[in-house]
Symmetry: C3
Subunit: 292 residues, 3 copies
């Protein structure tokens, strides 16, 4: 029984108008679907989605090869999740996101997405109900040929011994605050204190060329997996780090863990307790100027 | 006795400073006047206003001749409505609207508008009180020579047998949602279900050139006046339909009724129970491409 | 004991990491510091700040020599205010303001600013705590050579007999409302009624060239110090007057007093009862057109 039926308060049921045949069907309340779409949207406009028996998986890398995201969503995240075998589609993220946004989070509006078979390119059919307004939106659009989408990245399995797990909202506020003044950002650790530093140009010290050093410290948020007292990470472009952290914050990750080391990429891993998602962003460092 | 007197909480009365002679005077709380101005503003920057004994009337057509609005406001909509005989003025809508917006809806601030006689062009004097802030704004400006304003349209009396009366807020949300993805819109009816469809280009079917079909359905909102099971209306520019519907929603119409037929304009009629306004928008269809 | 300690709800104290040596130190909750920075920001991007034993003083004039501000902040406005002797720094207002904005007004987040000695140019170190999020932001940046900043203006001691003290919020709303339609503004007084008038061009009368006269009247807000029944002030650029009044409103002055006379500048004086600030803006009149 669909959620829409339970919420319906009219005489007649406002339900989904199910298509005759579908290769895959997802029924869910708006919030988890809207949230998961925000994660790849931080880096790309389109991506491959692998629909398997036990859930869906997305991996994508931005066109400049600086940031990647790997997302795993178990079938149990959704009310209904049914796939005939396994299936890969090319998803125009913005089209689905704008359509699904018609379903309101606060009202817990239900959404149904069907993948419809059709020759070379599958179609997507996204339906959103607003039971209290007695209306249903249905958007139907072609998916993208998966082979025409940028190849999926390997997620490098690097050992990054410096760890930090600040509060997700605090981390989002910190990066948003630093972003107002600076274009570069670096991570470091001083004992249990996790530090996000940033400055206008790619240097860490205040000097004649670098007029500002700006840091946010989280006193009890860091630890080391190799016993070192302190460590510094690499310098990153603010845009990539703030897009990744902003997406994890907007998608309401329950826990975010950052791992970093000098001259290495940074790994930012989000976990969702109730929904069961896991998402990993990796951001490559900038090549620092020689004056460092 | 003016409303301002009743609301005044100071020792001295904050009232309107009435001009010595006026050809017409309207006193009202802010909300109905601000709302009625939004209706012609959806299509034009200036319009003729006919002030008669029993109320005021506005008809206007946009410069491209695609949308028209006809608005009737009875004298009883206002606290005071007095006209010496009958009078036509040319109204610069934006000037009056910005001045009147000084009166706040939530605080029920009172407004007084006087038409002052003066040679060839009348002047308008709009006064808005904010009793709790002890201040009064008075804007005085010339009206426009009515003969210099685009001629008023005839409102065609076409029989349009397909009818729909969705909830006003829901309709406003639907058109706002569709507008994010599409530039064309069409109306249709399937039994009692009213459907607003839209797509990027002017075609109704999903095909290689038309990558998206997007519909919002209102299951119990439609009926026919000629007994037909279903019907489709014409294709319209999204801008005109969303401007008309957006204005009716913003002006808080209590009921909106749409009438449509294939290859005909669409009529959108708004009614206000308490204020007594009626407003009719008509939007001309686009010429559809031959591939239809 | 710093405020941060009291607010801290964790096991460990989230405090300020005080620098070894500082020429001046201010500790305060966010609100007064954020508010005082808004006052010179209405006119300039950088200014000299004189730190004396008993408080700090700022005077600045905009690049066009039209508006000036003089601000006096007593030491008692802050929780801690310590200066070694007296000190003048050149302050990049926007950098400090953006950093300090990290401390939230509603949460009463504490801020600490240190002036650090360093050769020719001092550095500023601004620290903001968010105790409930367990994080601390520290921004360190160079001050500006005071000699390179536009010379400070003398504040002319002109007798301006026409006075008005409207409610601060009402005054802010009035100027914001007038600003939507007009680029010029003038002040006048009719007995106890204070009037802000404005129009599109620099004339006070409605005529063929000047299509709108727009006034806000405050009936019991004005008085004269020389016994005259009524008076009119000069015409000003809307931008300067609205920037000054907007800044006083945003900075939450408890009382604003305007003084004006014909062909003279206008003085706008703000007072803060609790914080003890006083700020005076002066705005020079426009040269009126001969048709007046």
């Amino acid at each position: 029984m669909s959620k829409a039926v339970q919420q319906d308060d009219g005489d007649r049921e406002l339900g989904f108008d199910a298509p005759a045949e579908a290769d895959a069907t997802i029924v869910t309340s708006a919030d988890p679907l809207r949230s998961l779409l925000e994660l790849p949207q931080a880096l790309v406009e389109e991506c491959r989605v692998h629909l398997e028996d036990d859930g869906l998986k997305i991996r994508a890398v931005d066109p400049a090869n600086v940031g990647l995201v790997s997302l795993s969503v178990p079938a149990s995240s959704f009310e209904t999740y049914a796939v005939a075998g396994s299936l890969t589609i090319g998803l125009p993220l913005d089209t689905l996101a704008k359509s699904v946004r018609f379903a309101r989070k606060r009202q817990d509006d239900p959404v149904r997405v069907d993948v419809l078979p059709e020759g070379e390119r599958a179609r997507l059919r996204a339906a959103a109900l607003r039971p209290n307004q007695r209306m249903r939106r249905v958007s139907e659009f072609y998916t993208i040929d998966p082979d025409s989408i940028r190849e999926e990245p390997d997620v490098p399995d690097i050992e990054l011994p410096n760890m930090a797990a600040p509060d997700v909202d605090a981390l989002g506020d910190a990066i948003a605050g630093l972003e107002r003044l600076n274009e570069h950002v670096w991570l470091s650790r001083d004992g249990e204190t996790f530090i996000i530093g940033s400055q206008p140009i790619g240097e860490r010290q205040l000097n004649e060329d670098n007029e500002l050093v700006d840091t946010v410290a989280f006193p009890e948020a860091a630890w080391s997996e190799n016993g070192a007292d302190s460590a510094r990470g690499s310098v990153f472009s603010m845009d990539y780090l703030s897009d990744a952290i902003g997406a994890l914050d907007a998608a309401k990750a329950d826990r975010v863990t950052l791992s970093f080391g000098d001259e290495f990429p940074t790994r930012i891993r989000g976990e969702w307790v109730e929904w069961g998602f896991t998402a990993t962003f990796m951001v490559a460092p900038r090549i620092e100027s020689e004056s460092q």
